[in-house]
Symmetry: C2
Subunit: 371 residues, 2 copies
DNA sequence: CTTTCCGATGATAGCGCTAACATGCCATCC
DNA sequence: GGATGGCATGTTAGCGCTATCATCGGAAAG
């Protein structure tokens, strides 16, 4: 049943004798009595060597079956596969990565899991990478970009083959670490003239300006905002205000809320605006989640949306088209960002050239019922 | 300025000579000319040995400064820290993990990132673990539990120190792998009489039954459901129906939708129920997201909630209290599940005994405006 | 003053894997 | 028929780190 291997090259199969010094070693009395002296450090788990012994080949051949099967004949593969199944061997990627300097690990740093925006980028990134045999490791920076460097070092200590970052503002030390690691880097969710390596994002400045244009064009004049404290949201907010000024308008008031944003913050944000005595015709929110809260608060007060007050969101999250009334927002192709990041990384890692190192995926205003 | 180390024990400091065979090695001519002959495989990055040389100590001492500083005197630590900063050394956890069989990596498998329920468990788990110096690695199984085993093997090949699973239904092979890995395991989000190792969850059967009791008690009689196809949702659904039967009632209709659930599916689910000619008094949804969609669809049709139709959700996601009308639902302390999982793992990993290997964290009905 | 012990540090030998080169076999070529 | 080359496989030597035990100097004990 078991495919017995011929003794290749007439040499008796002998391996795993790693104990004695590399010079002339006096063989153990029986020669075949190659008793693997249980090292004090042995972990006891099945190793590639165990599989090799069972299959009657050398360890490197097992390694090849797993990593470069095209180098091995069909029946060797068969014998090795059988041995792997029989032993329940699970490769040790720590050892493999250490030896080859390739870990098949790609890290992505996002601010939080609590924001569906980033998740929608990560999911396709993960799909793309795992299809190519890479594993994605997520790092959560928490929004304050303070400890990004520590997180990065923790991640780099696992020697990922590449890394995906959210945002483009990184400390000098962070850039330094990344450069020193000499691995492909993709920054996402924003644009900059000075990317570390590769980049896929869109202009938050333009978003703010275009939203201002859109709302102004629809005839709204009394503007307010509920805006998250995160960096990119603040960029949108400022360019929104700047664009209004260009039209001789201004923003009545802006309520700032912490990140990640919640529906509750949206409700309380509108409540605060109204409590301050403002009666905005339209509220621009830095996320659809906030917009949803504003919508709920408006309804609970009997305000009709958009007639009494219009609401504009950002991101076009999956629910935006299905709230009542449906949410006008800014569509960002988050999945495309993730896919693109995955593709350029895979290209780099397989040695293919990457033509466009910087990609602006743009955005579009989605006019629905709420504004 | 630099704290020069005395030559301990009068021996000249000599290390990193790893090239020649272990037997008698003829020293390079000048003795001090210990030129590190660039190996063909050298990765070029800063190693612990480089730091050691700069600090004037042995590599193992640097290792101790990083991992067990209590074994090292204050000024040695100081010298090593300085050398680390100067060289920009980033430890290689592949090598460290390989040597010590401890990776400081903990893996968690969840079905999807698209469901806020699981995220809310993962976030506190992550916080808890990273505070203890562990890193969390997420694995996404996708809902069909088909390839869980492959994912698990990919994860185990990185030799995590422990693993967190979602759900309790695992294939025989999966259990086998886990047992063979000999690491702590926590199953979450469900209960079972036969956990692999440790467990923290709640009874989905009881949820279904109690929701039936609650809604029946409020006087509703015409029941319908919109229910995700996932395993645990189906358990809730069946026990909901069983409990209704016990009261001589029945469920008019159940619309099943794929996972992860979206607001859209909720809207379409209610639309389908109504199109089929049902006029339920209350709709029990397998997630708050679906419930939110049902709410929106009801509003868009001018149905008053809960007067014309009541809606019940599940999970008590962060928005549930802030929709309009606010959502009656089943509260599950997802964060506590994550914290608990983290705590028992950390206890195990630090050798402390875990008294309660199985924990039922329970749930509670939250009566708000919608039902 | 010697012995004992302890705390700080070092030398050695792997952890399990793969890069790089070596080897043997066979088919092909002149 | 020997040289040539290509292919499948094997041997050797690390990858960078830590477990383990050895060692050393000095404090405590006798």
């Amino acid at each position: 049943m078991v495919c017995r291997r011929r003794p290749l090259h007439g040499k008796p199969f002998r391996n795993m004798a790693r104990s004695s010094s590399s010079g002339s070693d006096k063989p153990a009395s029986g020669d075949t009595g190659d008793v693997r002296r249980a090292s004090t450090r042995s972990t006891g788990s099945v190793t590639l060597g165990d599989v090799a012994k069972l299959a009657g080949v050398s360890p490197i051949t097992v390694s090849r079956v797993l990593n470069r099967p095209e180098m091995v004949t069909a029946d060797t593969i068969e014998a090795v596969r059988r041995a792997i199944a029989e032993t329940g061997y699970v490769p040790n990627l720590l050892a493999g990565g250490l030896a080859s300097s390739r870990t098949k690990l790609i890290a992505a740093i996002i601010p939080t899991l609590g924001n569906a925006m980033f998740i929608d980028t990560i999911q396709p990134l993960n799909d793309c990478l795992s299809a190519a045999g890479y594993q994605l490791m997520l790092g959560l920076s928490g929004f304050p970009e303070l400890c990004e460097e520590d997180l990065l070092k923790a991640i780099l200590s696992r020697r990922p083959d590449a890394i995906v970052l959210t945002g483009v503002n990184h400390s000098a030390e962070t850039r330094q670490c990344l450069l020193a690691a000499k691995i492909p880097v993709v920054e996402t969710w924003d644009l900059t003239a000075t990317p570390i390596d590769m980049l896929v994002g869109f202009s938050h400045e333009k978003v703010g300006a275009e939203v201002a244009n859109y709302l102004f064009g629809k005839g709204y004049r009394r503007f307010a905002q509920v805006c998250a404290e995160d960096e990119r949201a603040q960029i949108r907010r400022r360019s929104f205000e700047a664009a209004l000024r260009d039209k001789g308008q201004s923003c009545l008031s802006t309520v700032c809320v912490p990140t990640p944003t919640t529906v509750r913050m949206g409700r309380e944000g509108l409540a605060q605006l109204l409590a301050e005595g403002h009666r905005p015709e339209v509220v621009f929110c830095s996320s659809d989640v906030l917009a949803h809260g504003v919508l709920a608060e408006a309804q609970s007060r009997g305000l009709r949306v958009p007639d009494d007050m219009a609401v504009m969101g950002f991101a076009d999250l999956d629910f935006a088209a299905y709230t009542f009334p449906s949410l006008s927002t800014v569509h960002v192709d988050r999945a495309a960002m993730g896919r693109h990041a995955g593709e350029v990384l895979l290209a780099r890692l397989s040695g293919r050239p990457v033509d466009k190192k910087m990609v602006d995926i743009g955005f579009s205003i989605v006019a629905r019922a709420s504004a």
